[in-house]
């Protein structure tokens, strides 16, 4: 029986069940941001693991094969991107400037705040990749000598912080244009933000995908160079 609890089949059922439950909660609550399926589902999984007295590392090993699908999903983002090409062209200049400034700001603001709160050097290094999507973050963090699990956690927490506040925040800032809304969410909150942007509209989703890719590319190129230069 315990052997069955340690099987990929169980891990998959748990993950799918958590997703269904989280999806239902999210939709029946009228899309409350804090109940977004990524957040709600993660809480459901964590609760189930604690109740079943199961190790997270074991669960993650059992479900690891699902991460394989992140590859084709990343490639698939090219399709909505291409379909919105005419909209992207009109804003190419502002978008490029925003990526360079926004990605640098995301990295530096986290570093300064964490340093100010007294974080250790290895935590600081692991925070530099917080605004880029998980696969890229893991590669870059390894490269500069950070701790991968903290890097992944910071990426995920960034995503959660982004999607739980964006609607409220951008209403306050009077930014309701789907293009700007999606782009900033993709820039600051990577894949989690992108999946939230697709809920708003295909246009927001395409702009978020573009921001996700550009921020990832920019950070992957600049952070290792900057780290080498500073350390």
């Amino acid at each position: 029986m315990t052997a069955l609890l340690d099987s990929p089949l169980f891990a998959l059922c748990l993950t799918l069940a958590a997703f269904q439950l989280a999806q239902w909660l999210y939709l029946s609550s009228g899309r409350v941001a804090l109940l977004h399926p990524t957040i709600g589902g993660a809480v459901c999984i964590a609760l189930a693991l604690v109740l079943l007295d199961k190790n997270y590392a074991d669960y993650y090993r059992d479900i690891d094969w699902l991460n394989f699908l992140l590859g084709p999903v990343t490639v698939a983002l090219a399709v909505p991107l291409y379909r919105q090409l005419h909209l992207l062209r009109a804003l190419a200049g502002p978008l490029m400037i925003t990526v360079v400034c926004g990605a640098s700001f995301a990295c530096l603001s986290a570093l300064i705040l964490a340093w100010w709160c007294g974080a250790s050097a290895s935590t600081l290094l692991s925070l530099t990749t917080k605004s880029i999507t998980t696969p890229i973050a893991i590669i870059v963090t390894d490269d500069i000598g950070g701790v991968t699990s903290i890097a992944v956690a910071s990426v995920i927490l960034t995503g959660m912080a982004g999607i739980s506040t964006i609607s409220w925040l951008f209403r306050r800032l009077k930014i309701e244009d789907d293009r700007l809304w999606g782009f900033c969410l993709g820039l600051a909150a990577h894949a989690i933000g992108t999946s939230r942007a697709f809920e708003r509209s295909p246009v927001a989703g395409a702009f978020a995908s573009l921001a996700l890719c550009l921020t990832g590319a920019f950070t992957a190129l600049v952070v290792p160079l900057a780290a080498r230069w500073l350390l």
């Binding site: 990524t38 997270y56 399709v79 291409y82 925003t98 605004s131 890229i136 910071s154 890719c213």
Partner: protein, 118 residues
């Protein structure tokens, strides 16, 4: 739709090959995404063809699955371990506050720049 999946996997494979061959600093899947984008652009510009139906469907199905794929790594936030206990406070403040500031700064900057573009 299966043809669409084949296109996606083939682009990823080509991206991984390019990444390894040229030792690029980007992951192969991101290189694959740029490849597929370039292919779609060329097809559209020179052959005047739209995105194939199977590829459009397959891509949309996969993109809809994104929240599901991100859930398992997200649950890891709750299991960072004891060695990290004294860092929690700095970690949460830096990440959440940093993210909000990034949203505000990039939002206002893009709004300003986009407003100047005719």
């Amino acid at each position: 739709m299966l043809a669409g999946f084949l296109t996606l996997f083939a682009c990823q494979l080509a991206g991984e090959a390019l990444q390894r061959g040229l030792n690029l600093p980007l992951p192969g899947q991101v290189v694959g995404m740029f490849l597929l984008f370039a292919i779609l652009c060329v097809r559209g510009a020179y052959l005047d063809k739209a995105v194939p139906e199977g590829l459009a469907q397959g891509s949309q199905r996969l993109i809809d699955l994104l929240p599901l794929l991100l859930m398992a790594p997200a649950a890891g936030v709750f299991f960072l371990g004891d060695g990290f206990a004294d860092q929690w406070w700095a970690f949460i403040v830096a990440v959440t506050l940093g993210t909000w500031l990034t949203l505000i700064v990039s939002g206002l900057l893009l709004k300003y720049l986009a407003g100047r573009t005719p």
